[in-house]
């Protein structure tokens, strides 16, 4: 698509520097670039939003209309209904998304916090602590990102199946599985950000007599807060939208199945019930958006803001 925008830098970079004094031509050019820039930003924003708007509008249309005409017809020939949402949220026990909504929450919150906590500590071990073979182990962890989930499902399932713990804590296997699958990426991302924390800060603290626990809690953690917040959002989203792990480790059991599994089941095994799917997809989007807005303020100062201010 607009990849061309950034594939040009090399030639531009080799141009001689512009004259030091700002000419009126330069000012004019700056104005034009800002206009062009705004236009590009608006085009991207529109392109990215229109498909979702289509989904939202469709979710409010009657079943027959969804099948027979494009969603934009809803504007010229309005006929809206809440029936789709009513069926998705009310309905029978197996289509009632409210229960699955809770399941998804119970799965997603620990499945976000656990890998986050473990990965922050591991990144400390990989970036601040010094030990032989550290970088090679790190590369190994990094490479583990690519192990396809599908290949890890069966061995992991064997650990839990039939155990007493699995009966008492039905969500445990889901939490652990999500945690394991998230760790390589979490460690990779957080390590990269932790590596940016200026060494001098840590050394200064150590000279003051601080041990690793103090350095970790008082120096590194506060500086990492934005990075942690953004990873938390992504991890929450990934777990929330995951289907494969949810299906496998819930064993299809309705008591623990997440929203995505219910949504997929709604599609039916033989046909596509667009009207229910559109409404269901929208319901499942709500919480991720709430989380995004809630944590967005952490982005403002930047993931690496600490290293600059420090």
């Amino acid at each position: 698509m607009s990849a061309t925008i950034t594939t040009r830098p090399p030639e531009v970079a080799t141009r001689p520097p512009a004259p030091a004094r700002r000419t009126s031509a330069a000012r004019f050019r700056a104005m034009v670039t800002s206009r062009v820039g705004s236009a590009i930003a608006i085009v991207i924003a529109v392109l990215w939003t229109v498909p979702t708007v289509g989904l939202f509008v469709s979710s409010l249309r009657p079943e027959a209309d969804i099948r027979s005409s494009g969603w934009w017809h809803a504007f010229t020939d309005p006929s809206f209904t809440l029936e789709n949402y009513a069926r998705v949220l009310g309905g029978s026990t197996s289509t009632n998304l409210a229960v699955y909504f809770q399941n998804s929450l119970v799965i997603a919150i620990p499945a976000t916090l656990l890998p986050l906590g473990l990965a922050i500590m591991a990144s400390y071990a990989f970036s601040v602590l010094r030990w032989p073979g550290r970088d090679w182990v790190f590369v190994g962890v990094f490479a583990l990102q690519v192990v396809p989930l599908q290949m890890a499902l069966v061995p992991l399932l064997r650990i839990f199946s039939g155990t007493q713990v699995a009966d008492v804590l039905p969500f445990l296997s889901l939490w652990v599985a999500h945690t394991i699958f998230a760790l390589p990426l979490a460690i990779f991302l957080l390590h990269n950000f932790m590596a940016e924390v200026p060494r001098e800060l840590i050394e200064a603290a150590q000279i003051d007599g601080a041990g690793h626990v103090t350095v970790f809690l008082r120096v590194v953690l506060p500086l990492m807060l934005p990075a942690i917040a953004s990873f938390a959002i992504f991890q929450f989203l990934w777990v929330w939208n995951d289907l494969l792990v949810g299906l496998t480790f819930s064993g299809g059991s309705r008591t623990v199945q997440p929203l995505t599994a219910a949504l997929a089941a709604m599609a039916g095994d033989r046909g596509q019930e667009w009207h229910l799917l559109t409404a269901g997809a929208f319901v499942s989007m709500l919480l991720p958006l709430v989380v995004f807005f809630a944590l967005q303020r952490y982005f403002v100062r930047g993931l690496l803001a600490g290293s600059v201010k420090g």
């Binding site: 009310g90 409210a98 929450l105 069966v154 992991l156 299809g252 008591t255 095994d269 033989r270 046909g271």
Partner: protein, 455 residues
């Protein structure tokens, strides 16, 4: 449409609530994880005495059945569970085909599974995961099912799977009101069908209206409706015996008789004068969701749509289905009116262990009592010969039951479900999709499937 008040309120409650209200909401329903107390039975339990009584036993069943159909399934055995004390926990997912292997290999097998195709059942058996049906279940099965149906659940002379629900695929859906309006008659032979098709093309055909409509898109299973079509043609062009040889790979996949059968399907699916009403040219068949194609019949964009009995579930609510309604189905005719080859499919219940409760449930599912109970609830039929057609919930299902119980009809199971899955859920689908897409001719398509057959 009218929005139910209480439902609407529930909508706004959930929409408004974020994390907090969702958690609070959960206090009411579905939050309990402790063991539920068993209710003591009320009502008449005499009919269930033969299965014995169990105290607090739970039998788990996995299947592809989800959504509303799952609720109906659970309702069908409610009396049984109450009287015997067995709790049946049913888990339906549409990812069943892949999930069941993961669960079994992960040591997490259910007690019973309802396999949507016999191929999966025999793969499970080959890997040594299945237990044969118990004595009671076997006796009930032999009493209530025809040999044709049981043969697909029998492996090495041992009965592993019992058919519980079934469908007939050899149907053409049409609009009775449109037929009446135009003076069209339901055809009883293949030639009559094609003559009707030509007459419709001459009367009605234009840029958008065609005699037939068809679609083979179905997500990850895209292509299956085309393989069904071809199988129906093999039964008609070459007959049931050749069909069996073809399915078992005793003749090559691209045998001349099969080529002729596929070409017969092509006479409809690849002729721009005959398809694809309301959607586009013949190539559009490849990307049209199969059920969406059938809905064109309701809009008058096409007049004939070949699809299984379960297409009924895809019709919008309020559609009148019946011989005088908006839409109905007739038997896809063979060359002679007396020949009635029937392409069928069905779900088989197989057991992963030989526990007493497991076997009791399996035996119950093989009984006419269960089959009638399930059929009365609606939406499906069972190949159980003890089912009273009067219990069928719709005209199409009654027609299906009549055909299933018709002694003159020769039933053959959907071949792609019986072939090795590399073929039946792989190259057969892919090659037929390419063929519909017009990228390969019949010989080439069939030759590529032949070469993919595992040695």
């Amino acid at each position: 449409m009218i929005v139910n008040r209480t439902r609407a309120r529930r909508v706004s409650a959930v929409v408004a609530g974020g994390l907090v209200s969702a958690l609070a909401l959960s206090a009411c329903a579905g939050d309990d994880l402790g063991g539920g107390g068993g209710d003591s039975a009320g009502g008449d339990c005499g009919a269930f005495e033969q299965y014995g009584t169990f105290d607090g036993e739970t039998v788990t069943i996995s299947s592809t059945i989800s959504d509303q159909e799952a609720d109906q399934l659970e309702e069908s055995w409610a009396d049984f569970t109450e009287c015997t004390g067995i709790t049946i926990e049913h888990n339906g997912t549409n990812e069943f085909e892949s999930q069941i292997f993961v669960q079994v290999e992960g040591g997490n097998a259910p007690n019973l599974a309802i396999f949507p195709q016999p191929g999966l059942l025999s793969r499970m058996q080959a890997e040594g995961h299945l237990a044969p049906a118990g004595a009671d279940a076997q006796a009930a099965a032999e009493e209530n099912y025809t040999e044709d149906w049981l043969s697909y659940g029998t492996i090495d002379d041992e009965l592993y799977g019992i058919p519980v629900m079934g469908s007939v695929k050899s149907f053409v859906w049409y609009s009775p009101s449109a037929f009446e309006e135009n003076g069209y008659e339901v055809p009883t032979t293949w030639d009559e069908l094609m003559a009707l098709s030509d007459r419709i093309a001459a009367d009605q055909g234009d840029e958008t209206v065609k005699p037939w409509c068809s679609g083979i898109e179905s997500g990850g299973a895209t292509g299956w409706p085309a393989t069904d079509f071809v199988e129906d043609m093999v039964l008609r062009e070459a007959g049931p015996d050749v069909y069996d040889q073809w399915v078992n790979h005793e003749i090559p996949f691209d045998d001349p008789q099969i080529v002729a059968s596929v070409d017969r399907a092509g006479a409809i699916l690849q002729d721009p004068e005959r398809v694809n009403g309301g959607i586009g040219d013949p190539r559009s068949v490849a990307t049209t969701p199969w059920a969406e194609a059938g809905l064109q019949v309701l809009d008058g964009n096409c007049f004939l749509f070949r699809a299984a009995s379960f297409f009924e579930a895809q019709l919008p609510e309020g559609t009148e289905v019946g011989p005088d309604g908006d839409i109905f189905a007739f038997y896809l005719p063979a060359d002679e009116a007396e020949d009635r080859p029937l392409l069928v499919a069905g779900d088989y219940v197989g057991a992963f262990d030989d526990g007493a409760a497991t076997q009791a449930v399996q035996a119950y599912l093989a009984s006419p009592e269960w089959a009638n109970s399930r059929v009365s609830i609606g939406g499906v039929v069972s190949p159980n010969q003890g089912v009273d057609p009067a219990n069928a919930s719709s005209d199409v299902l009654r027609l299906t039951l009549d055909l299933m119980q018709d002694e003159g009809a020769v039933a053959r199971f959907d071949g792609s479900d019986l072939m090795p899955s590399e073929v039946g859920a792989g190259s057969f689908w892919t090659a037929m999709t390419e063929w519909v897409d017009g990228r390969v001719d019949t010989e080439k398509a069939l030759a590529s499937i032949e070469s993919s057959w595992p040695k």
